[in-house]
Symmetry: C2
Subunit: 244 residues, 2 copies
DNA sequence: CCTGCCAACTTAACACTGTTAGCTTCGGCT
DNA sequence: AGCCGAAGCTAACAGTGTTAAGTTGGCAGG
């Protein structure tokens, strides 16, 4: 029976020289070829692939360093088997990120649960967003900083709103307006603006080496505070920009 | 001709299907092998490579679609010749982007020259930044949205300031403070905040399919206006965020 | 004019990537 | 017991960045 002979498994993958030896041991405990799934359990491989990819993505922090062959090796399977469950590499990466960001909305809601004040909720929401993005930088990059961000295959006009719980943000803005904390302009515009601010922080913090020279917390507080003051009804908007 | 047939199958990544035949002819008139340079004129190839790469980058809008072989073919040279002038592909792309963004600062200064009011200058600066980023999206992505943005090889702490004319922005903020249009907090903090806002707009507009549902101009005006109001000394900062 | 030298390239190949066609193998049903 | 199809493998293709080693052709010195 050839299943347990090590050299066979090594030969199966072809040239394995490129991978550093540390990588192999770091992936948790799937060294050899895994048992084939039962008849109806083909879907289990899909989950294992997702787990392994997620692990590698976190580990390398670069989706270009996560290649099909390393994923296959991590699950104990050959590269073509990946394509039984994912159309291509992009679909795989997308699935992993979608999985991670299903918890973004949840994280935000947990953070918001601490208070009932809509304005404070907006601030907590912003901080939670930035924190989450910095905890999962590569996933954030793929979702919101790619060439053409494709969050999911839902109807395209729903993509924007579905991602990052945009509707929940809009609701929060509406509540803030009703509470008198925010000027009564278009809530969607205000929500988009808030998203833009926290995305700007997250994006630059991920990409630019030592971005917030003034410290990240300071900047987040500063920006959210400035934005909140600018949104208040009390700052009478008659005196707009000099001309337009 | 299989190029125009396939309705669904041809997606982004794989084979050469991404290249349409029209692209090849679009590169201006270097079909065959070019004449070898004279003894001292080896540097001329470098410029031709930069030109061709810049052209391809603009054309495809994706730095992963610009490969060494296509650049070499466009210049009329073989792939290894590229490495006589650039250490690797990243260095080549970086050089091209650096070239493009040498004009970012210039574009901004031109835009600012229209007025003497520091507050209005800040707004014009922001608009010019966004416009420039949207005119050169792929270059912007490489410069400010990459995994680890490497603007240039200068001393690392100078990178941030050198890029996008950060010091000029800080100076503008200082002038706005002196003019009484902006509250007298840390100018660097304020400048970083402003950069963050315009980057947030630019970044999302590049990445997210139909990002500003309210229209881009509307959003830019809204955000810069809100930010300006939030920065005014008149919005007394005693009443800060509820708690912290 | 010739001769050699060296800058400016080319040829050929390597290692690695995503991806596909076609074959094997095993679990479960009849 | 037999077979059939799901689950997975073998082998290969086409394309990528990159490098080692060879070639060419213009220019300087004899």
């Amino acid at each position: 029976m050839p299943s347990s002979t090590a050299p066979v498994a090594a030969r199966a993958v072809g040239r394995d020289a490129g991978m550093t030896p540390a990588m192999k041991t770091a992936v948790p405990a799937e060294p050899s070829r895994r048992r084939r799934s039962r008849k109806g359990e083909g879907e289990r491989l899909r989950e294992e692939i997702l787990d392994a990819t997620s692990h590698l993505l976190l580990q390398t922090g670069d989706h270009e360093a996560v290649n099909i062959r390393s994923v296959a090796k991590a699950v104990g399977v050959t590269p073509p088997s990946i394509y039984l469950h994912f159309a291509d590499k992009a679909a795989l990466i997308k699935a992993v990120c979608g999985r991670h960001f299903a918890s973004l909305e949840q994280s935000i809601e947990v953070a918001v649960a601490g208070t009932d004040d809509p304005a404070e909720q907006l601030r907590l929401r912003g901080r939670a967003y930035v924190d989450f993005g910095l905890e999962h930088p590569e996933q954030y990059r793929i979702l919101f900083m790619s060439r053409r961000a494709v969050v999911c295959d839902e109807p395209p006009d729903e993509e924007l709103k579905a991602a990052s719980g945009f509707t929940a943000l809009v609701d929060n803005v509406v509540r803030a307006i009703e509470a008198g904390a925010v000027d009564a302009v278009d809530p969607i515009l205000v929500a988009t603006g808030l998203w833009t601010v926290v995305h700007g922080i997250t994006s630059l913090a991920i990409s630019v080496p030592d971005y917030p020279v003034s410290g990240l917390d300071t900047l987040v507080d500063h920006l959210l505070d400035v934005h909140r003051r600018g949104l208040r009804p009390s700052s009478f908007s008659m005196e707009a920009w000099p001309h337009r």
